[in-house]
């Protein structure tokens, strides 16, 4: 990144003494990158970084976990999932605990493995726990494409898919006063940067699209501090994020999924904030409708953490009852979760 002096920017951010600036990153990978680069230690106390609802595991309601457990307990069904989700508690247990009681749960690294397994073993139903944002959805669409092509009746998705713009409006309305957003880099790669440009106009809050390198994140934070109160939009991640996004990915999402209301952990149902399978592909749905129940453990303040009302370490359970080994909330389980990142990197 030519044209700016990182040392000078770092110095300005450390010595900043203006009005408090509250900046939210809405992407779990940004949360992790901010911790990995030690960025909080480089900022003045007047600049607060707040983690938003951008970790897919963290915003998944307990009803989805419960449904996955129910499916995995059936003798003819195997549930496939990414690693992070396996340890998140549903109402009474996690998929990992269910596995200990004989449930058929398998961790995979790519949803495409579902196709291979379903082909090889027609006697079992293979259900993929399809959670995620616009970033992961195109892969689920590709899984369906293969299922259709190969006429696989034993492959299904349990979907809990979220989309970005609506939840940002929710956070602005219900959160703790955000002065600027680091727009989600991976999601923007798919959706394009235009939606954040429009959001910045509509909400009067600045948005900067950022990549994941430490220096670029620092420049993003610097830009947002300068833009406070003025609104505006910048795309610092032009190498990956185009204005119109990834047309092919958007088309394949559109082919299999349609917009719908979605339930977010701790936030309830947000209209138009998710995706569900289209009617013509419903036979690939493992029962994703009406999964709204959200039984958070008593005392868990994930909801306030997710919208930036409190910092993870302000939750009374943080680091005491709730640690990565004894996690109560999903935000402490996922390596993209805000509580997890605060805990392991000593952020307070």
């Amino acid at each position: 990144m030519a044209g700016f002096d990182i040392k000078k920017i770092a110095e300005e951010l450390k010595n900043y003494d203006g009005d408090e600036v509250r900046i939210m990153e809405v992407c779990g990978t940004h949360t992790a990158a901010i911790s990995e680069n030690g960025i909080p230690s480089m900022l003045s106390d007047k600049i607060k970084l707040i983690s938003g609802p951008g970790c897919p595991v963290c915003v998944t309601v307990t009803a989805v976990i419960d449904k996955l457990i129910e499916l995995s307990m059936r003798s003819d069904t195997v549930v496939l999932t990414f690693g992070d989700l396996i340890r998140v508690k549903g109402t009474s247990m996690s998929l990992a605990e269910a596995k200990g009681e004989g449930a058929q749960v398998k961790m995979v690294y790519s949803p495409m493995e579902t196709v291979k397994l379903a082909k090889e073993d027609p006697d079992h139903n293979y259900v993929f726990a399809a959670i995620g944002f616009e970033t992961t959805t195109p892969v689920y669409a590709m899984v369906l494409e293969e299922a259709v092509k190969n006429n696989l009746d034993n492959l299904k998705l349990l979907t809990s898919l979220k989309t970005m713009p609506e939840v940002i409006r929710y956070v602005v309305k219900n959160g703790g006063g955000i002065d600027g957003f680091i727009a989600p880099g991976h999601v923007a790669t798919i959706t394009g940067s235009d939606i954040y440009k429009e959001l910045s106009k509509e909400l009067g809050i600045p948005f900067v699209v950022s990549g994941f390198e430490g220096a670029q994140l620092l420049l993003t934070i610097y830009s947002l501090v300068k833009m406070k109160g003025k609104g505006g939009f910048k795309n610092l991640y032009k190498s990956a994020v185009k204005e119109e996004g990834n047309i092919k990915a958007k088309e394949i999402i559109e082919k299999y999924f349609k917009a719908a209301d979605a339930s977010w952990r701790g936030m309830g149902k947000i209209p138009g904030s998710g995706l569900i399978l289209r009617e013509e592909y419903k036979k690939y749905d493992a029962g994703s409708d009406m999964l709204d129940e959200d039984n958070m453990p008593p005392g868990c303040r994930c909801a306030d953490v997710l919208v930036g009302k409190i910092k993870p370490c302000d939750c009374p359970m943080f680091g005491k009852k709730c640690t990565p080994d004894t996690a109560h909330g999903a935000c402490m389980v996922s390596t993209e979760g805000s509580c997890y990142n605060y805990f392991v990197s000593g952020r307070r």
Binding site: I6, M42, P56, G83, D84, A215, L218, V344
Partner: protein
């Protein structure tokens, strides 16, 4: 030919297995006596360790379970400043295991023992029922090392103020190789499984003042250094730009959201040395086998606060400070 329950019965099949497979490769005067126990010479002070090896897949780029089961035990012996001398090995075979597969592992184990300079003095075989999926094997090795009388005491509670932290090579290779193989990802990453005998012997022979030494296995560098910091009541400062990680492992980790600081290795060690000996130690390791990428990665600072205040801090490339805490969970890949 496959392993059957009869191979573990103690009868003729067992004798044949021992003769055809084990004795063929584990051939030495002590073992050849086939007594109930091996009788060997000793030293006044001994280091003793045991480890069991379970890995899927059993063959992976850069190594296999046979080689691993020597490296793990030999490296543990070396880390106490001892000279590894003898190892024992117990094989637990699953019914249905291909005898060729077993023979390959026995051969690899025997070759690695020769490389590490240890003698396999006794062994045991059991056969268990197949627990499903592909039949595999588990290996346990125990080892004995001699500690010379003049060896300085080396241990995690012995770090001193201003000690220099040296790492013997690139982080994460073993973990990344295994994960890539399991995921069916093709790349050039190879496990680093190796006995550290040459580097450690050279350091000891040249009287480098080593205060603590540990092989960087499961849990990775972060876990080892946290243990050092807590046991010795000190802080450890690391420098991100000094941490050796190959570009392939770096890319692989970036893709999966893994952190090389917490990834397992099977042929790397980290040591805390007297500051005056640091440059010498570095060049000794670099000119030893498997040590070409060794680097000085950090410094020790005494901290007299209560034990939960001791920190391992990484100075990041952009000038930030990040606390390297204990590893939680299993180091699972991120979701997106």
């Amino acid at each position: 030919m496959k392993v059957t329950m009869a191979h573990g019965s103690g009868g003729e099949s067992t004798s044949k297995l021992i003769k055809d497979v084990f004795a063929k490769y584990f051939n030495n005067d002590i073992l050849n006596k086939l007594e109930d126990s091996a009788v060997v010479g000793g030293a006044a002070r001994l280091a003793i360790t045991t480890d069991s090896f379970v890995v899927t897949p059993i063959e992976f780029p850069g190594g296999n379970i046979g080689r691993l089961s020597v490296c793990g035990t030999v490296n543990d012996l070396l880390m106490s400043g001892s000279k590894p001398m003898y190892i024992t090995c117990g094989f637990i075979l699953e019914e249905g295991l291909d005898l060729d597969v077993l023979e390959n592992q026995v051969k690899a184990l025997s070759e690695c023992a020769k490389e590490a300079g240890v003698t396999i003095v006794t062994g045991d075989t059991k056969v268990v029922e197949n627990r499903g999926q592909e039949a595999g094997l588990i290996i346990n090795t125990s080892g004995v090392g001699f500690i010379s009388d003049d060896a300085e005491s080396i241990g995690p509670s012995n770090l001193q103020d201003n000690d220099i932290i040296i790492l013997s090579g690139n982080l994460g290779d073993h973990h990344a190789a295994i994960l890539a193989k399991r995921m069916g990802i093709e790349n050039n990453i190879k496990s680093d499984s190796a006995p550290l005998t040459d580097a450690v012997n050279n350091l000891m022979a040249q009287k480098v003042r080593i205060h603590a030494m540990r092989d960087v296995t499961r849990g990775g560098l972060g876990t080892v250094l946290n243990e050092f910091a807590e046991s010795s009541s000190c802080d450890i400062e690391l420098y991100e730009d000094k941490l050796p990680v190959s570009s392939e492992v770096k890319d692989f980790c970036g893709l999966l959201g893994l952190d090389p600081i917490y990834m397992g290795n099977e042929g790397k060690f980290v040591l805390s040395v007297h500051p005056e000996d640091a440059d010498r130690a570095l060049s000794i390791i670099r000119s030893s086998q498997y040590g070409e990428n060794a680097a000085i990665i950090g410094i020790v600072k005494k901290n007299n606060q209560p034990s939960d205040m001791h920190k391992v801090v990484l100075n990041t490339n952009i000038g930030g400070k990040r606390v390297i805490g204990l590893m939680y969970g299993e180091g699972l890949p991120r979701i997106c």
